[in-house]
């Protein structure tokens, strides 16, 4: 329907209002999920500072990211000396359990071999802490792939030993909110299964007030837990988009022959059913009544609210795996995600969405990867959606078109409580469903000349 009129991505060379962030930002988020970890970016001071500011505006928590602080000399003669000094200073000042080094486009382009530099420091590095490094040049990938690549690097560099099974499960989360992580842990606990959760930034990025300053906030997956991942009988990994070389579950399967379960981010009934089925299978326990009750209430509300949402049209954008999850949920309740857009470019977005949505119709659902917000705006003007759903960066379009925006995911820079948005499981789906229905009701009410007080 819109095929012929829409401007194709390759007709633009530049990017206007990007719908993605740079790769090392994802690395910094992933490292926040490790207990006692501090991020160190190998590059210019600005990268660390910009990423801190961006994350702080969403999470509203102290986020320290050190930098090896390149100067002109460093760029010419290599960053080895700076990186060494940075590692020693960070360890000295923060007393970390792990230093997570991510690279930047600068250090990658001049060809610094971080692995080699770290190796050459073997005698200087205190054995009290680990150093994990990941390659994250921002000219390849996005923050989403940086997040995945970092988790993979962490596990690859720490879980090196084969250990005897303790019938536990490894749970590898996608880039979701601290609230989502708390909920996953609650589910695993209620299933009474031993689990190792990676990464766990549920507390480090959404914690309580302090009575004394903490150099590194408490919480996070411990190094021991990661080292013991080889004890599991299965690894559940959220998200379909990551390639095999980015996948933690695939790595653990190849190395230790641990069964891998790739599942979608559980938003909606079907996706959550699927996740709980797998946890049930691994744990040998039935789904706890608590979640069945949540499911029951959710379905009850689907029925109560179906008329308000059926056939509504929505423009959806964000990280690829997140877009897949929300698209599936919207389809499940009869909303058409007329545009599923992402700045990511894994090349798999369309394939995954079309295979996950029953009766996927290309004429109704336009899937576009590698888009920016200026393209999303152009297309939205033709598609005339009833609402937008995604992070807060779509606000300028929503304002311009006078169409509501439902803020979910990351980042939420213009509303309060971004880290407490629960998207997943029956409980998160319930919150999303209520939010969507109420947004549509509000629109209808506000635009009505009568102003009905029962809807």
């Amino acid at each position: 329907m819109i095929e012929d009129t829409v401007v194709k991505k390759d007709s633009y060379t530049s990017t206007t209002n990007a719908c993605k962030l740079c790769t090392p930002l994802g690395a910094c988020i992933a490292f926040k999920g490790i207990k006692g970890a501090i991020s160190l970016m190998h590059g210019s001071q600005g990268c660390a500072t910009y990423i801190r500011r961006y994350l702080i505006s969403h999470f509203k928590e102290p986020i320290d990211i050190a930098s090896s602080n390149f100067s002109e000399d460093t760029a010419i003669f290599g960053g080895g000396a700076n990186l060494k000094q940075a590692v020693l200073n960070v360890s000295n000042q923060y007393k970390p359990e792990l230093i997570g080094i991510s690279t930047t486009c600068l250090s990658e382009t001049i060809g610094d071999d971080v692995g080699l530099i770290i190796k050459s420091m073997a005698t200087e590095i205190d054995h009290d802490y680990k150093v994990v490094h990941v390659s994250t040049p921002s000219y390849t990938g996005t923050h989403e792939s940086g997040y995945r690549g970092t988790l993979r690097a962490i596990v690859e560099q720490i879980a090196t030993e084969e250990k005897s099974s303790d019938r536990s499960v490894n749970f590898i989360s996608a880039m979701l909110s601290p609230a989502d992580m708390r909920y996953f842990k609650e589910i695993l606990e209620d299933f009474q299964i031993r689990y190792r959760f990676l990464p766990d930034y549920s507390e480090t990025l959404d914690g309580a007030l302090w009575d004394e300053y903490k150099k590194i906030p408490s919480g996070g997956t411990t190094i021991d837990e990661i080292a013991n991942m080889s004890k599991a009988i299965g690894t559940i990994e959220l998200g379909y988009i990551g390639s095999e070389s980015e996948s933690v579950s695939k790595l653990l399967k190849e190395k230790f022959n641990i069964k891998d379960y790739r599942v979608g981010i559980p938003v909606g009934v079907e996706a959550t059913d699927n996740l709980l089925k797998i946890i049930s299978e691994i744990s040998g326990n039935n789904v706890p009544a608590k979640f069945l009750n949540e499911r029951g209430r959710l379905l009850d509300s689907y029925v109560d609210g179906h008329k308000y949402v059926f056939g509504k049209r929505c423009v959806l954008y964000g990280e690829e795996d997140f877009v897949v999850a929300i698209a599936c949920f919207l389809s499940e309740i009869g909303i058409i995600p007329v545009l599923c857009g992402s700045g990511g470019k894994s090349g798999k977005l369309k394939k995954v969405i079309s295979s996950r949505i029953d009766g996927f119709d290309e004429k109704q659902i336009k899937v576009m990867d590698g888009v920016d917000f200026s393209e999303i705006e152009e297309i939205s003007k033709q598609l005339k959606p009833d609402f937008f759903i995604g992070n807060s960066k779509g606000y300028s379009i929503s304002r311009e078109m006078n169409i509501p925006l439902i803020r979910i995911g990351f980042p939420v820079h213009d509303r309060f409580g971004g880290s407490r948005i629960l998207h997943t499981g029956y409980r998160g789906t319930q919150a999303l469903f209520d939010l969507i229905v109420n947004t549509l009701l509000k629109e209808k009410q506000d635009r009505s000349s009568t102003g009905y007080s029962y809807l």
Partner: protein, 462 residues
């Protein structure tokens, strides 16, 4: 309370306790590797200075990050076009890193100029451009000729210095425009306002003051500015420089090239704002009207808010403040304004202060005040706790440090939306300080257990 947080050895001389001798502060140096500096980079310096030019295309040449993190980042208002609020990037990928990004830059400039019809284009070089060796100047020249608008390269590779070097690169870019416009009809009693970025409409307020004084404002650099106005800046008789860090270089260059003298001012607080206006008036002493009008203006404006300020002062007297800002000049005014409100400054620091700045700060502060250069979260949190600050004034990156410890915070950086300049600005500032310091929530914060005496809590029941 004394914390056990340590200062890095390399940084010991960048921390000074007023009263100690000798005073031998190290500053104006690059950040220590591995210290979590609150500074940004050269690109950041250039980007913030040029950001408010509203009818220009600001194209960031590099991978996506630098443009994404500076999208709509400042509260700099425009009375007309808002092209500056969009984020444009050449979004370099691996292919261009290997084979060069000039072709992509050329295409990007062409399509964006066609789409948005800007009056000029600034092309910011990021780190990687300095390494892969793109000839940005040549591309800019070609596009300028083809599109008939100024296309100005900004040499802002992140690693080539500090934020200050970025300010200079921005000033160098502006100098390519200054002198190109028609200055016929500009009054002798005229000024440029430098280093004012129209955060929350501050430039409008200040311009209005000058208008009432009978002083013509030729160009504001760069708040709510247009390319045409920048081109005419050489027609003014005086440059009035605020935020000295970012624009002093431009003022000095304009003095050299066009013989325009400059003065340094601050529009923060009653004292400094009044002084700024009087200083300008006294330069135009041939025009006796100006001083008379200035006196009337200052009196009127002060009267409007004075009573309210006394109310705030009554409540704020004795409260303790910590200040950490980009340029030290801002800190001078803040200390004075806080003093006016009865508050004591217990910590003051800046990202980019120089020797002279720190000497002034030392002389302004009481014994026991901590003075910091290019500080980091560990030091800042150590001292706001030890010095029992009630309020921390800084930018977005400092906010969570204060809040996590249960200490009030006011944003004095460029991302805020409230005007803090001028007389009205002082009212806004006092009001914001009052509304954070007086909030009842602080009593629940664990750092002050004495304020919320809950026996259940002590017994571990709650």
């Amino acid at each position: 309370m004394i914390t056990d947080l340590k200062i890095l050895k390399e940084r010991e001389r960048q921390v000074y306790l007023k009263g100690e001798e000798p005073f031998d502060m190290k500053c104006d140096v690059k950040s220590t590797a591995g210290s979590v500096s609150q500074r940004a980079c050269v690109f950041c310096g250039s980007r913030v200075v040029l950001y408010p030019v509203a009818d220009a295309l600001h194209l960031v040449h590099g991978p996506i990050g630098c443009a994404a993190y500076t999208w709509d980042i400042r509260g700099a208002l425009s009375s007309g076009p808002e092209l500056h609020r969009k984020s444009f990037s050449t979004d370099l990928t691996e292919k261009e890193v290997i084979f060069g990004g000039e072709k992509k830059l050329y295409q990007a400039l062409n399509e964006l100029i066609e789409k948005h019809s800007p009056k000029a284009a600034f092309v910011y070089s990021t780190c990687i451009v300095g390494i892969i060796g793109d000839d940005v100047g040549a591309v800019a020249k070609r596009v300028a000729k083809e599109k008939d608008i100024p296309v100005i390269p900004v040499h802002s590779e992140g690693f080539k210095g500090t934020k200050k070097d970025g300010y200079q690169a921005a000033c160098t870019a502006l100098l390519k425009l200054v002198g190109k416009g028609d200055i016929k009809g500009i009054s002798k009693t005229s000024i440029n306002i430098l280093g004012e970025f129209n955060i929350g409409g501050e430039a409008w307020m200040i311009t209005e003051y000058y208008k009432k004084m009978g002083v013509e404002v030729v160009s504001v650099l760069t708040g709510d500015s247009r390319i045409e106005n920048i081109k005419k800046a050489h027609g003014a008789s005086l440059n009035v420089v605020q935020c000295s860090g970012s624009m002093l270089y431009l003022a000095k260059k304009m003095e050299e090239e066009y013989g325009i003298p400059f003065i340094r001012v601050s529009y923060f607080g009653l004292e400094d704002t009044s002084k700024a206006l009087y200083d300008v008036a006294s330069i135009f002493k041939d025009n006796t009207d100006v001083m008379e009008k200035t006196k009337i203006l200052v009196k009127e404006e002060v009267l409007k808010i004075y009573e309210d300020l006394l109310f705030y002062k009554k409540h704020l007297t004795g409260k303790r403040a910590a200040i950490y800002v980009g340029g030290a000049f801002k800190a001078f005014s803040l200390i004075k304004a806080l003093k006016f409100l009865g508050m004591k400054t217990v910590l003051v620091g800046s990202q980019t202060g120089n020797d002279e700045d720190y000497e002034i700060l030392r002389d302004m502060c009481d014994d026991g005040t901590v003075i910091l250069d290019d500080s980091n979260p560990i030091e800042l949190s150590k001292y706001i706790v030890e010095k029992k600050a009630d309020l921390f004034i800084g930018g977005v990156k400092e906010r969570p440090i204060a809040y996590k410890m249960g200490i009030g915070f006011c944003d004095h950086n460029h991302e805020r939306k409230t005007p803090l300049a001028g007389f009205k600005g002082m009212y806004n500032f006092a009001d914001e300080v009052y509304s954070t310091v007086m909030s009842p929530v602080w009593k629940f914060c664990p750092i002050r257990p004495e304020l919320y005496d809950n026996p259940f809590l002590k017994r571990g029941i709650l």
